[in-house]
Amino acid sequence: MTNHYIDIKNADVILIMGSNAAEMHPISFKWVLRAREQRGAKIIHVDPRFTRTSALADHYIALRSGTDIAFLGGMIKYILDNKKYFEEYVRDYTNASFIIDDKFSFNDGLFSGYDAAARKYDKSTWAIKLDAKGIPEKDPTFQNPRCVLQTLKAHYSRYDLEKVSSITGTPVEDLKTVYELYASTGVRDRAGTELYALGWTQHTVGVQNIRAMSIIQLLLGNMGIAGGGINALRGEPNVQGSTDHAILSHILPGYLKAPVASQTTLEEYLKKNTPKTNEPQSANWYQNYPKYMVSLLKAWYGDKATKENDFGYANVPKLDDGQDCTVLNMIDKMYEGKIKGFTCIGQDPAVSLPNANKVRQAFANLDWMVHVNIFDNETASFWKGPGMDPKKVKTEVFLIPAAASMEKAGSMSNSGRMLQWKYVAEKPPGDALSVGDIVYRLVNKLKGLYTKQKGAFPDPIVNLVWNYADAEGNYDALATSKAVNGYFLEDVTIGDKTYKKGQCVPGFANLQADGKTSSGNWIYCGAFAADGTNLMARRKKDDPTGLGLYPEWGWAWPVNRRILYNRASVDKNGQPFDASRAVLKWVDGKWVGDVPDGPWPPLSDKEKGKLPFIMKPDGVGALFGPGLAEGPFPEHYEPLEGPLSKNLLSSQLNNPAIKIFAKECDLYSGCDPRYPFVCTTYSCTEHWCTGAETRWMAWLTEAQPQAYVEISRELAELRGIKNGEKVRVESPRGKVECVAMVTTRFRPFQVGDQTIHQVGMTFNYGWLFPKDCGDTANLLTPTVGDANTMTPEYKAFMVNVTKV
């Protein structure tokens, strides 16, 4: 979240799209409903299915799965055509006035530079024109037809109401309702927030769904303000923490980039990843990149990381250039037999990953699997699952009992980037250990073996700092957290302050590129005060702004800032656009309110003032965003498996930059009459993801006992299915039997002259337990991911539904 949960109460319009907030994030609705009760806020829910979120919304708007960009593109057009944007904000705080390179073009669904054979773009023409000083050329009057605002307008000119309606299946009147209501926040004294989750990310155009909304929020001046922002409701209680700590393969802790093989020296790596700017008033915060990387290497390799040896950079594993190690590719390599061993901690990929038949088969090609979990699940027991002959499966599986969350101390990072320290409620049962303990012991063992037996390249293991144990030699969460925060490794004087060796670094602005500081994750630097006080354990309820920032409850990254980009909530003179919702205010030469996005004075100070979007090299919000795989503006493409044979906006049916998996098990259908219905998948309130933890809980399986498919009354009639009857749902990749839930909450979509039926299933069930609960919807989902992140397209694919 750019903002945070409590801040939802400050919004005037709450757009929930790509999320079923009431069911998946029940606590979010405390603040959604408070906004309505206290401010008269309007709640809009856009979703293919009428859910418990829709039930409480002021407006429920239906759209066909996978057509969000068409829907949002129509809103961008509406805002531009009707001049609903916040002009001062758009002119000064975004790249709307920047002039785009002459060679950039867009034609019939493709941007300039497309290589069809490689399914990739040469992005060199997706650029901003620079003047002689290397500063972006601008036209603040927006008259230049090549300026970003005019190019944006031209791009979305095709997204008129009728066209959008014919793609999304949303009636024109409903589109108008949303566009008018949401665009009403493009003024100083109204705020609009957007809540999304996996309903946006789990598409082949996932990142661009979010980009489209970011464009809207920038146009309306909703970024950086209270009650605004673009807010990802994270699923698992600490999943924000796990991504912050680099659970994904393309990053190091703190979202530093994973090095690639061609970056053989630290200098080459830093040069590639440290952005430069000639824009005089841009803070370009990432110019500090070397400080964060060197401090990370010092945290990992301590005294063995010296300037002379590149601070141990050679020890860090490198990706091959262009290599993608995300989960779909990992399973693909496992399926090919190229990956021999698999360590799986706290997951149930046999249920959660798409094309589960392929996943389960891939596990059978392993030599070994180590599975760490609090219960047995369909992954650990895959070898005795449906269609498996245990005698023929060679994989040796080790199931290691783990401690549950309430049996461990440590920090939890919530969606609002707030870290709260928690304590052990109960010791883990039997031999169960915390994952921290398991990893701690494993690495100690490895260090012993590498020290004794050497091996080809022992340095990364032998030289690793590994001193996170308490007095009894067990893993110590507090010691680990302090190392993550980072220490001064020598006495260091910064400004008029001198910090002693061994003190905690109180914020990443103090980190150094010369090896005098360590930090295991720069964005978490500051969670401890210099004297070692754990700020994550704070529980003070003071709220000086009245906006619900609660600055002394826990600690939020970065540097306890509760609303990101908050310099965009004030005008050039540092005065809030909306005084009744003042996140920041420049008073007597000082910022008052939230922790500002950098200490500099307001923008009107031509010497020291800085632009608000400090993480962007140009200092402004990017309406034109050239970094993504499929283009600088979001464009509508149909899902890989969709009901239409033609994209109504261009000749490009699917996202041109996605990877196509081509094994026989990766089969997909396009407009195949055997699979005529759109299907989407989701979770329910009562179960947690795969249900691997919750299906063992009798009160929860009582409430949601068995797998079901939700279908409209119209489809039920078409197929002769009665409510509660057993049905078979089938895709080119698999089939599942489950109970039909015939409901008025799904309706057929009128798309052009076609009637399109959509159905939906939960993925909460697996064959292991309870025995009669059914199996996962992921036996049906396709092996395909977003072009940037490889997040699987769980939300839109094609199936058939028949009575058993």
Partner: protein, 217 residues
Amino acid sequence: MANGKSILVDTSKCTACRGCQVACKQWNGLPGTKTKQVGTYQNPQDVSAQTWKLVHFSEGVKENGKPYWYFFSEQCRHCLEPPCMDTIDGYVDGGAVRDKETGAVLYTGKSKEAPFEDVRNSCPYNIPRQDQKTKVLAKCTMCLDRITNDRIPACVLSCPTGAMAFGDRDAILDMAKKRVEELKKAYPKAVALDADQVRVIYIVVDDATKYYKFAAA
């Protein structure tokens, strides 16, 4: 007795997360029963000796053609003049008791001596149920053990949105009145159901029967 205690259930703020349904079982030591998916989110299908709090799900289509989905987290209303108590008293002394301080109505072990069907039929809300083995009658206790120890009922505590509130009856009645007035602006049919007769007061914004057959007396 002063005016005792009351619970307010504002269905306009209920997301049907069923935290209350589970919290009731957790605090009262009630088991999860074996259920089947029968084509609805609602499960179990009915209250029972093992399920004292149950969220009802009712869906349909509004006059404007848009769907609706109403949630009604059913429990004993703890009537000011409980007809079930009169019925039980007609057969056995002390089969039902009313707590003087709070007004909570409870069944005792002696309730097994009262004919179950008569008791059930006397309740306008169809609440009383019987334990199949012991024949003792069962229902919500207003968490009397909690509320007489400075704690709020388990269901109220579990509610993430604040759809439920517990307190002195006068304060709850006042809260209900204000909330209904506020809701009436957008929902002319908003009403606090049977507020003068019951301690567990439900606010609904549409016809009560659209929520659940026995929502109102």
